[in-house]
Subunit: 262 residues, 2 copies
């Protein structure tokens, strides 16, 4: 139960802000400006908490993310909190990791606010799907290697691997899998069944942060590399010829060529 | 020929910065910080020139973009300018629209700099491929409607439509086409051949800027809508069930249902 203070009641509004991949400098100016005028900030697990320093010191900061073992709010509970806080305190900034609409369930919150007649402004964020590869100098597109990129989730609502992963494995697109590390072996198998055991692949942990770690190989070796190097979530998987542009790839290739030659 | 001033020679380095989709507040803090320490800024046509105000007043600002009818630099010329300026002036910020690696040819510049032993730092940008749809409250992914999104270019090096567009039209992914407005009729035809004449589709011009304009319909109507509303480049096309979440879609649907009923 939130008790309103009559003096502080302001026009309710919500700003849905993408916080970016983790590096606090990878939020947009617009995101910072939204935070500076926040009465309440609702933030997720993948958001760098240092970003909260941009909000006024007396703004209410509420953690609503999911961490294994911790208490976490359901999507319904988050939706309701957004409305409650907006009605009682004014400007609510909903700070989400990456971009709010890339597997962020941002639209569900936007929709629920609209049903409650609360205006929502969207501030896009840097999505790890593009940026985390780019920070490792792997371009999602590159002339002669890739004319498109396809971003899929490794974690669907049902728990099964999305059919889109099977389709993506058949395509010539650069394939970026978010939240797929726990299914890496299964996903690599899907690529192998398409005859792509030699396709370059990389796994990048905690891109843009001090915990960043990368392994670069091919479909046939990527599962072992990720295990040996103890890659942990959050991690992004990227499949495609563009991975061959990573500085570590040439080394890996030479090594496996020697192994292949016996 | 650039004549160096010995007193001002600094360590050569290049920062490849994504400027975002057009709104000057959609650059990252990291991008602004790079501009603030720039000795030279090389910028493209799709970059909002107001961003140059973040660079020191005495920094050299060079426009290297392409505008129809204007003189423009070839990619080779841009690569060489980057090196020349870095060697002679120090910190060169290469400011590119959107994200440097989403059809931005950013890797070619990074690679050329590496060949010349000049260190390059990458600062990702907000890519219109995700953000321009999101600003229109169209989420590229949404539970129950889309488990992935596929970003393709409408303009390939050869001038032909990419094979990836044909594959994307067959998939269940949300399909985002960049630089495809001049081929909209051809692209819509590809979706029709897959039996997707009723698939929701939108075209968004100049997303995030004061020239933003949107038309929302289905594959069968989108070409006419774009023409009637004089949608001009730069524009992004989005195909997928997620487009049905746009507030204009319900109205369009009811209208066409009435027309269909005769």
């Amino acid at each position: 139960m939130i008790i309103p203070d009559e003096k502080t009641i302001k026009q309710p509004r919500i700003t849905l802000v993408g916080a970016g991949p983790g590096d606090t400098d990878l939020i947009t100016l617009k995101g910072v400006k939204a935070l500076q005028t926040a009465d309440v900030v609702l933030y997720d697990a993948l958001v760098n908490e240092e970003l909260l320093e941009s909000a006024p010191t007396d703004a209410i900061k509420v953690y609503v993310g999911k961490r294994s073992g911790d208490h976490s709010y359901s999507q319904d509970a988050v939706n309701k909190l957004l409305i409650d806080y907006a009605l009682n305190y004014g400007h609510v900034v909903r700070l989400k990791g990456g971009d709010p609409f890339v597997f962020g369930r941002g639209f569900e919150e936007l929709d629920y606010a609209a049903l409650n007649n609360i205006p929502v402004q969207v501030v896009p964020g840097i999505s790890s799907s593009i940026a985390v590869a780019g920070l490792q100098h792997i371009p999602v597109t590159h002339r002669g290697l890739s004319e498109s990129f396809w971003v899929v989730t490794g974690t669907t609502a049902s728990g099964k691997i999305s059919n889109d992963v099977y389709e993506a494995a058949r395509s010539k697109a650069t394939v970026v899998v978010l939240m797929g590390l726990h299914k890496l072996a299964e996903i690599a198998e899907i690529f192998k069944k398409e005859g792509k055991q030699n396709l370059p692949a990389a796994v990048i942990q905690s891109g843009s942060t001090s915990n960043e770690k990368v392994v670069v190989g091919i479909v046939d070796t990527i599962v072992g590399l990720a295990e040996q190097n103890k890659i942990a979530s959050p991690a992004l998987i990227i499949f495609g010829e563009v991975v061959s542009l990573h500085p570590d790839f040439q080394f890996a290739k030479e090594f496996y060529d020697i192994v292949a030659r016996g």
